[in-house]
Amino acid sequence: MTKALTYESIHVGDAMPAFTSDPITRTHLVRYAGASGDFNPLHHDETFVKMFGMPRVISHGMFVMGIVGQAVTDWVDDKNLRKFGVRFSGMTEPMDLDDPNSRDRATIVVTGNVVEKFEADGEKRMRCEIQAADKLGGVKLTGSFIAALS
């Protein structure tokens, strides 16, 4: 059971509920390309990436940030999100459907911790540090968000 999100009930060091994505497939990348408008062929066209010696397409960084955004707003209400920033540190390859062993490298696990409670602009807020990594431990991004608390 998730703790109620109030200034009194939240403490520095508390973990946000862990979030695990579905394994990212090329179909997810195509859907994200269409939704976002980012049609860089790096993210869907294997004949393009092979020219640069890459074995397969890679995910949009912003898709991974979008997954992290889902994890964050599963916990805090969208309307309470004040700031959300990430630093990208690793690429994500989608799973190959003919290789079940590739699922883990394409599955994103989002974790985070409350690092600060403070008041600003007349409201109570918390800052959390967050990280997204694949199930093999490869870090994709680190960052933080600020949310208002009641």
């Binding site: 994505s21 579905d22 990212i24 997810h28 859907r31 994200y32 269409g34 939704a35 976002s36 408008g37 980012d38 640069f52 960084g61 912003m62 898709f63 940030m65 979008g66 997954i67 955004g69 889902q70 964050v72 707003t73 599963d74 209400d77 969208d78 309307k79 999100l81 004040r82 700031k83 959300f84 920033g85 990430v86 630093r87 990208f88």
Partner: protein
């Protein structure tokens, strides 16, 4: 190589009309769902959004990406104008500040400015540099109110 004389340059504004179909499509993409009935309903259903205390449907937290990519001429012509080498380009950082709610029907205008360009020596590779370009966007609604700020750090390796 990024052209450092471009610091301070402001790109022509881009305009994006927020549509509920686009919000639902984006929500499906980032939540890896096949239909809009499976996404968080504040992203897809006006009644559910109102019941949750919103004026109307709201977009997911990273929806801002669409404003630029669908509202402007896209990122590539902008990057070329700043002299960024696309083959060496990495997305370094992205940060959003949320100031006012955004709903379907809003018409957003974004203005992007080149705020910083600098080099950083590569770790363990003396004399080799990564080049950083930092862009900041101010996104206003049809009433001219500042609704969001976005900060993007691009890296040429």
């Amino acid at each position: 190589m990024a052209d450092k004389s471009k610091v301070g340059m402001v790109f022509p504004p881009y305009i994006f009309e927020v549509e509920k179909g686009k919000i639902a499509e984006f929500a499906m993409a980032v939540s890896q769902k096949e239909s809009k009935s499976q996404v968080k309903q504040i992203y897809a259903d006006s009644g559910a959004a109102k019941a949750a205390g919103y004026k109307d449907i709201v977009p997911p937290s990273t929806f801002q990406t669409c404003f630029l990519l669908w509202g402007g001429g896209g990122l590539m012509p902008m990057l070329q104008e700043v002299g960024i080498n696309l083959v060496r380009l990495l997305h370094g950082e992205e940060e959003y500040e949320y100031l006012l709610p955004i709903h379907p029907g809003d018409v957003m205008t974004g203005v992007i400015k080149v705020v910083e360009m600098f080099d950083k020596e590569k770790k363990g590779k003396p004399g080799k540099f990564m080049e950083f370009t930092v862009l900041e966007a101010e996104i206003r609604n049809q009433r001219g109110e500042l609704a969001m700020r976005a900060r993007t750090t691009l890296v040429e390796r």
